[in-house]
């Protein structure tokens, strides 16, 4: 087995995508307070800036003092950019589906809603049609999240009532390799990337991530880092897990069709079986357990789930369109 030093070490700052990022990154490097959010800011400029501010909570940047994670000016700007992101996500949400029975009816209603959801599928395209170059491009974009897989929702653990806290840890224990570093899901993905000749360093491909990938990642950090949004974080988790098992099999089969790295096939095969368990836990014991104690969070759970599905649809549309496959 290839030995990869998966070290959580500082990486270089990403390239700014506009005047806000330029000023913020320069201020971070030079140890000056970061500016406030300007009245008008380009979405992509805002997204890479927010991603960078979030990333300081996961790991640092080589050029930036670790203290800046909690710098009041950085926290203020983060809050301003987060409010914009949350407002945008909420403006896209049509509201939760109507069903009778309250929290007890949630699991069945949730699985039914996932089943009824029709979206473009990257996994289906990878399974039957994608070229090797297209798959490598997709994996580079997926790496922004998969190299810190499960980390955003780990922030939520101490904010939950007892039953869903225990349930989330049961799921997370599996995600984090049940005590075996070589089984940690982020590590399996890093192994797969290295076997494909890709750079398994966190954030290595951030400069080519389009707006929607930045939004996907920022959304998970937004939900994970705010106790107020714990319901949305768990709804997002449930939707993610409930749309992973079957697509992961398609991904594994597509990689096999193209003769691409066995290690990356293994990553996806692991997710066929793991997520068949995780979707049940996430929907029934984690979200269901949360709503049994905090039924007022039901809307937030659905909002988080919708945001997960909607952002994935947006990424799929973007890539399939770019590849002329839409």
């Amino acid at each position: 087995m290839t030995e990869i030093a998966v070290v959580r070490r500082p990486t270089p700052l990403p390239k700014p995508r506009g005047p806000l990022g330029e000023r913020v990154f320069a201020a971070l490097v030079e140890g000056r307070p970061v500016p406030e959010r300007p009245a008008i800011v380009d979405e992509e400029d805002a997204a890479i800036t927010l991603w960078t501010l979030y990333e300081m909570s996961y790991r640092g940047f080589a050029e930036v003092d670790d203290d800046r994670e909690w710098d009041p000016s950085a926290v203020r700007l983060r809050g301003e950019l987060e409010r914009d992101l949350e407002a945008r996500l909420r403006s896209r949400w049509p509201g939760r589906p109507a069903y009778d029975g309250g929290p007890a009816a949630f699991p069945d209603a949730f699985f039914a809603e996932i089943e009824a959801h029709e979206g473009p599928s990257l996994a289906r395209f990878v399974h039957t049609e994608a070229t090797a170059d297209q798959v490598l491009e997709l994996l580079q974009l997926r790496s922004i999240y998969h190299l810190k897989e499960s980390d955003p929702v780990a922030w939520v653990v101490p904010r939950l009532p007892v039953a869903p806290r225990a349930s989330l840890m049961e799921l997370q224990y599996d995600e984090y390799g049940t005590g075996r570093p070589e089984h940690l899901h982020a590590r399996l993905f890093a192994d797969g990337m290295a076997a494909l000749g890709l750079d398994p360093t966190e954030g290595a491909y951030i400069d080519q991530a389009p707006l929607v990938v930045l939004e996907q990642n920022n959304t998970m950090s937004l939900f994970g880092l705010h106790r107020r949004l714990r319901g949305a974080a768990l709804g997002h988790l449930a939707a993610f897990e409930a749309t992973s098992s079957l697509p992961s099999r398609r991904m594994a089969q597509g990689l096999e069709r193209l003769g691409l790295a066995e290690e990356m096939q293994a990553y996806y095969r692991e997710h066929v079986e793991a997520d068949a368990v995780h979707e049940q836990l996430a929907v029934r014991t984690i979200c269901g357990g949360l709503l049994a104690v905090e039924p007022e969070l039901e809307d937030d759970v659905w909002f988080g789930a919708f945001s997960c599905l909607d952002l994935e649809d947006r990424l799929a549309s973007y890539l399939l369109d770019r590849w002329g496959a839409a």
Binding site: P107, A166, E170, R249, E273, A276, V277, Q280, L281, R284
Partner: protein, 83 residues
């Protein structure tokens, strides 16, 4: 007493309805059987499979490609064929 001992003691004494203890085996409507903890599952051919996860999902629809484990296939078969 470990959680597992507590489980056996409860089994011997008989679980009471509404017990606050979490179950070791959970039947998911229309989906798999969840097994919490370390178990050996014997499949239809008599082969033994040891669980490898904190919780495992055992196929109940009969259509999984990774039997005895669930692979989510129950979601794509007609509803009347689901367990």
């Amino acid at each position: 007493m470990s959680a597992r001992d507590a489980g056996s003691a409860r089994g011997a004494g008989g679980a009471t309805a509404g017990s606050s203890e979490s179950p070791d085996v959970v039947v998911c409507p229309g989906g798999p059987l969840l097994l919490r903890g370390d178990h050996v599952v014997q499949d239809e051919d008599g082969s033994a499979h040891r669980t490898t996860r904190p919780v495992s999902a055992v196929c109940r629809c009969g259509k999984s490609a990774t039997k005895p484990w669930c692979d989510g296939t129950h979601k794509v078969i007609p509803e009347k064929l689901r367990p």
